[in-house]
């Protein structure tokens, strides 16, 4: 049985900077994963609906506007509520060190800032994917 890791890469909220999301999407593709890219300006509800339909193993959120404490947490809570607790959530963007413990507690298991090597993200996903 062939099993491929499926990842949803989404940009919640209003910032329009998706270069980072694209770099990560490409790195995951090159690591043999199937990456569904949803584009900009996603609401938490849109992300969860796409995650359900695409039956992904991982949701990757990218945000550079500074609203991660609201939007990442909204997505994580709504995913729990909708029964997607077994989906691994990771996030990236401009996230101050001090915010990371709270994000992890809310279920964003990996947070990756600028300068992170792509291999680190790939390895993290491979090690932590739950299904």
């Amino acid at each position: 049985m062939e099993r491929k890791i499926r990842v949803l890469i989404a940009k919640p909220g209003l910032d329009g900077h998706d270069r980072g999301a694209k770099v990560v999407a490409r790195a995951l593709r090159d690591a043999g994963m199937e990456v569904v890219y949803t584009g900009l300006h996603q609401t938490a509800e849109m992300i969860i609906e796409a995650a359900i339909q695409e039956d992904v193993d991982v949701v990757g959120l990218s945000l550079l506007s500074g609203a991660h404490m609201t939007l990442f947490i909204d997505v994580a809570r709504l995913m729990q509520e909708k029964g997607l607790g077994d989906v691994l959530i990771v996030g990236g963007g401009i996230v101050p060190e001090g915010d990371i413990p709270k994000l992890k507690k809310e279920g964003i298991k990996g947070v990756f800032g600028p300068g992170t090597h792509c291999d680190v993200i790939v390895d993290f996903i491979k090690k932590n994917v739950k299904r």
């Binding site: 062939e2 890219y37 949803t38 584009g39 509800e45 849109m46 695409e54």
Partner: protein
């Protein structure tokens, strides 16, 4: 009946999504469920959408869906993008053009990689069409990868095939003529606000006019500007007309039989390959034959016959 089958038949999004994953991964758990749902299929109109990359297939599907939803039809969308032959990964980006459909629970979108299959589709696409059909979708649209000339598998699965063309391809329309240009039930010239649209339409018209087909239906050529939603209602009318034509002429039965044939061959092919390359089955024989071919003890045809002989005995 299996629990997941019941949920799929009731239209449960998560059950549909999970069953698609099982089918796509060739999981044996899918087989039983597929058997349960098969009697409940055959109600959806399956529309294939193909064309070169960047011709606007995804945007067109989004606009078509908008009209089908106004008609209160439930819509399933299968969007296929290429799997890398190097890494086995894929970037599935068709959802970006369909964002406004994300929150409509009458629409189900699934992105899929080709996973090694040539021809513009992916081998699990037959299963996914059955699953969406059984789940009560009235219309299922299958978007192929961006095609070149010879990827024509979509006609095996679709009741109605749209070939999307854009102006400005100029002479390359000529090169498209064998293969993809032969499979259209409806031609769509998209991006019809661009220069060269008359020429593109004229080229296709001349292609349609010299057809010696004895069918009394002439392949229509529609013009659309999908980013502005122009020409879409007319296109939907033609799509529905084509389906009525298939029903009237009973061609629909032949078309569906063709799909089941393609699906059956695909399943047999997969099972056969699994059998041949399974460690516990024929894998050792295959390795031995490869050694013999390399050392010129035996030729590939004889080796193939001997391997097949083991299966057919």
């Amino acid at each position: 009946m299996n629990d997941i089958a019941k949920k799929v038949l009731s239209g449960d999004q998560r059950a549909i999504a999970r069953l698609i994953t099982l089918a796509e991964n060739n999981d044996s758990a899918a087989t039983k469920v597929m058997a349960d749902i098969h009697p409940h299929t055959g109600n959806a109109h399956i529309i294939g959408i193909t064309g070169v990359m960047g011709s606007g297939k995804s945007t067109l599907i989004c606009e078509l869906t908008r009209i089908f939803r106004k008609q209160r039809k439930k819509v399933g969308i299968i969007a296929i993008d290429p799997t890398s032959p190097f890494s086995g990964g894929a970037l599935l980006g068709d959802r970006v053009r369909m964002m406004e459909l994300a929150m409509d629970d009458g629409v189900f979108i699934r992105s899929m990689g080709t996973r090694g299959m040539l021809g513009g589709l992916t081998s699990a696409v037959y299963d996914v069409v059955e699953i969406l059909d059984a789940s009560g979708k009235d219309v299922i649209m299958v978007e192929t990868v961006g095609v070149g000339q010879a990827e024509v598998d979509v006609i095996k699965i679709a009741d109605t095939t749209l070939v999307i063309i854009v102006p400005g391809l100029g002479d390359s329309i000529q090169t498209l003529k064998a293969g993809v240009m032969e499979i259209a039930d409806i031609y769509v010239v998209n991006k019809a606000d661009r220069q060269g649209v008359q020429q593109a339409v004229a080229e296709i018209e001349s292609l349609v006019d010299i057809s010696c087909s004895e069918k009394d239906r002439k392949t229509p050529i529609m013009q659309t500007i999908s980013k502005d939603g122009k020409g879409i209602e007319e296109l939907v009318k033609e799509i529905i007309n084509h389906f009525k034509y298939l029903e009237k002429t009973k061609e629909i039965e032949a078309q569906r039989r063709l799909r089941y044939e393609a699906e059956l061959i695909e399943i047999i092919k997969k099972s056969l390959m699994n059998f041949i390359f399974d460690e516990s089955k024929l894998k050792n024989t295959v390795e031995k034959k490869l050694d013999q071919i390399s050392s010129k003890e035996v030729d590939p045809y004889t080796a193939a016959n001997e391997i097949l002989g083991k299966i057919l005995k």
